[in-house]
């Protein structure tokens, strides 16, 4: 064991030796080591978050044909620090009639629900917080805490727009949790485990995006909905409810919501990479190129993949208009949920039937099954659209528009 092959355990063993040589019991040394590990992980996530502010602003500027921050430091890299100083020295306002404790707790909880996710994110085969055997469910549980923070913010602000934003968020989360859980089950079935490390290792020969491209798409869509980013950002729709749940927050409390959202998006980019794009693996190349197995290199690969996922989420956010709330719910309940259930059943059956056949055959068959499902879905949607159009035409042509309105 050395620093290159197993950095975390190397440092941990060294520290443990240091602590126990001073006469500390082994159990307490373990607790202290865990605390140090947690603090280091959180610090890493938060430092990354500062960088993400810059990335987000730079990328949105490119999508909108602007330059973005470019004055302070090379490529505007120092800009986030200037932003942080500004946020910290701003006046901290608590609105009259707000529920002080809940109001102040909400941004902390919002950030914490994101940080919690980092506990299970495997950066490399030997760099991870904890390898839970229920990691996939843990992801959903952390999401529940995130919803709670938004409701707390919305309610405690004593502002009707904030409350409306919180209500919308709950409707959003409760609906999109269903396809998200179902598509989380697909990697679980394919890898035969809920541990994120097991899921990553199961993709060493073929990535799950090949086996279930539709599952990946639905997971991405419901992840964007869970993040509350455009086109699902109804909880902060500025044209309707000003700023939604964080309307009353100022200074660093707003900063926590903002930074939490960015880090959340990046984390979900990481989860997409981990569940469907092989995590820290590189097409199984790491078996032949030992340098790719080194934890630090693998962590860089994983963070790169997560960044690509984050970029796709940004790409969607800055190119899509916000959808209406009834469309959002209909899209989820009438389209995503049935489709994800069909994919789940088909994937479960196919993976069981093909368990004995060679990998390339199984991958090919499962990919083709997904293509067939996609084609059938598009055909059904076209049929429904055509019927609807005919209905509208037959209703619209003979009578006046008023008569049609009355019949609904």
């Amino acid at each position: 064991m050395n620093l290159w092959n197993d950095p975390i355990n190397f440092v941990a063993n060294w520290l443990r030796g240091l602590l126990t040589s001073r006469g500390l019991a082994n159990g307490f040394a373990t607790v202290i080591l865990f605390f140090i590990g947690i603090v280091v992980l959180i610090l890493f996530a938060m430092l990354l978050d500062i960088f993400l502010v810059w990335v987000e602003r730079k990328v949105v500027a490119r999508f909108q044909d602007r330059l973005g921050p470019n004055r302070i430091g090379p490529f505007g890299l120092i800009q986030p620090f200037a932003d942080i100083i500004k946020l910290v020295i701003k006046e901290d306002i608590t609105p009259a009639g707000a529920d002080k404790l809940i109001y102040n707790m909400a941004p902390v909880l919002a950030m914490a629900s994101v940080i919690l996710l980092w506990a299970i994110l495997p950066l490399a085969s030997k760099i991870y917080g904890v390898d839970l055997n229920v990691a996939v469910l843990y992801l959903v549980a952390a999401g529940a805490l995130g919803t709670l923070s938004i409701i707390m913010a919305g309610w405690a602000s004593n502002n009707k727009y904030a409350l409306l934003g919180a209500f919308r968020m709950v409707a959003n989360m409760i609906s999109y949790e269903v396809p998200m859980v179902v598509t989380l089950l697909i990697p679980t079935i394919l890898a035969n485990t809920m541990s994120v490390k097991g899921i990553t290792d199961a993709q060493s020969s073929v990535w799950f995006v090949v086996l279930s491209p539709l599952g990946m798409l639905i997971f991405l869509i419901s992840a964007i909905a869970e993040l509350g980013r455009a086109p699902f950002d109804l909880n902060e729709a500025e044209s309707e409810i000003v700023a939604g749940f964080h309307i009353e927050y100022s200074g660093m409390k707003f900063g926590l919501f903002y930074a939490g959202e960015l880090l959340h998006a990046f984390t979900f980019g990481g989860f997409v990479a981990m569940l469907y794009f092989g995590g820290y693996g590189v097409f199984g190349l790491e078996k032949f190129v030992p340098v790719l197995q080194a934890p630090l290199v693998a962590a860089v690969i994983f963070l790169g993949k997560a960044m690509v996922g984050y970029w796709v989420i940004m790409w969607v956010k800055y190119s899509m208009p916000r959808i209406r709330i009834d469309h959002m719910l209909a899209f989820n309940w009438k389209f995503l949920t049935p489709l994800s259930l069909v994919i789940l059943v088909v994937t479960a059956l196919a993976s069981k039937l093909l368990s004995g056949s060679p990998t390339w055959l199984a991958a090919l068959v499962m990919f083709l099954t997904n293509v067939v499902i996609a084609w059938l879905t598009i055909e059904i949607l076209r049929g429904v659209g055509r019927r609807q159009r005919r209905l509208e035409q037959s209703l619209a042509s003979p009578a006046s528009p008023l008569a049609r309105h009355g019949s609904e």
């Binding site: 159990g27 529940a144 409701i151 707390m152």
Partner: protein, 170 residues
């Protein structure tokens, strides 16, 4: 004291204090949030007991459901959401007595168990408790019947809710 015991004591204190606050507080929203804290403490207890599945499900199901409870609390009550009446009835001593009796009975029963002083055996390496739980839920000599019955019950509740909510087309 081992670290586990310290964590247990902290979370037990958290559960008891939060459960008291759920009943005592006059603000409905605060009661819901105290309930979250109590249920979170229970999740911590499950985690200490190596029951990671139950711990996570506790958070997903109960804390996730609090979000809905919250909305009902806001939508179904008046703006103030404060109950100004007395919080106790004249016969409050009766349930208190009953509670103390049940507590005494439980303590008596638990200390009557032979296993009370034993520490839990460590889970042997290579055994995944989650896997055991999963196969027990669906194996015929396990709990497949209760599992399926609960599923059918939930499905019928779902169908019933849809039927109630769908309304009559006029």
């Amino acid at each position: 004291m081992t670290p586990e015991q310290i964590i247990f004591l902290i979370s037990a204190a958290l559960i008891l204090a939060s459960a008291m606050m759920v009943v005592i507080t006059r603000n409905l929203i605060h009661a819901a949030l105290w309930l979250v804290s109590a249920l979170f403490g229970v999740a911590v207890l499950f985690a200490i007991l190596n029951a990671s599945f139950l711990a996570v499900v506790q958070v997903v199901v109960y804390i996730g459901a609090i979000a809905i409870l919250f909305i009902f609390a806001v939508m179904l009550t008046r703006k103030e959401m404060r109950d100004r009446g007395s919080q106790t009835r004249s016969s409050w001593w009766l349930p208190a007595l009953l509670g103390v009796l049940i507590l005494a009975g439980l303590i008596f029963l638990i200390f009557g168990q032979p296993a009370v002083n034993r520490t839990a055996p460590a889970i042997p390496a290579g055994v995944d408790p989650l896997r055991l739980l999963g196969s027990a839920l669906v194996s015929p000599d396990g709990y497949v019947l209760p599992f399926e019955a609960a599923s059918v019950l939930l499905l019928s509740a779902l169908v019933g809710a849809v039927y109630v909510a769908i309304g009559r087309k006029s």
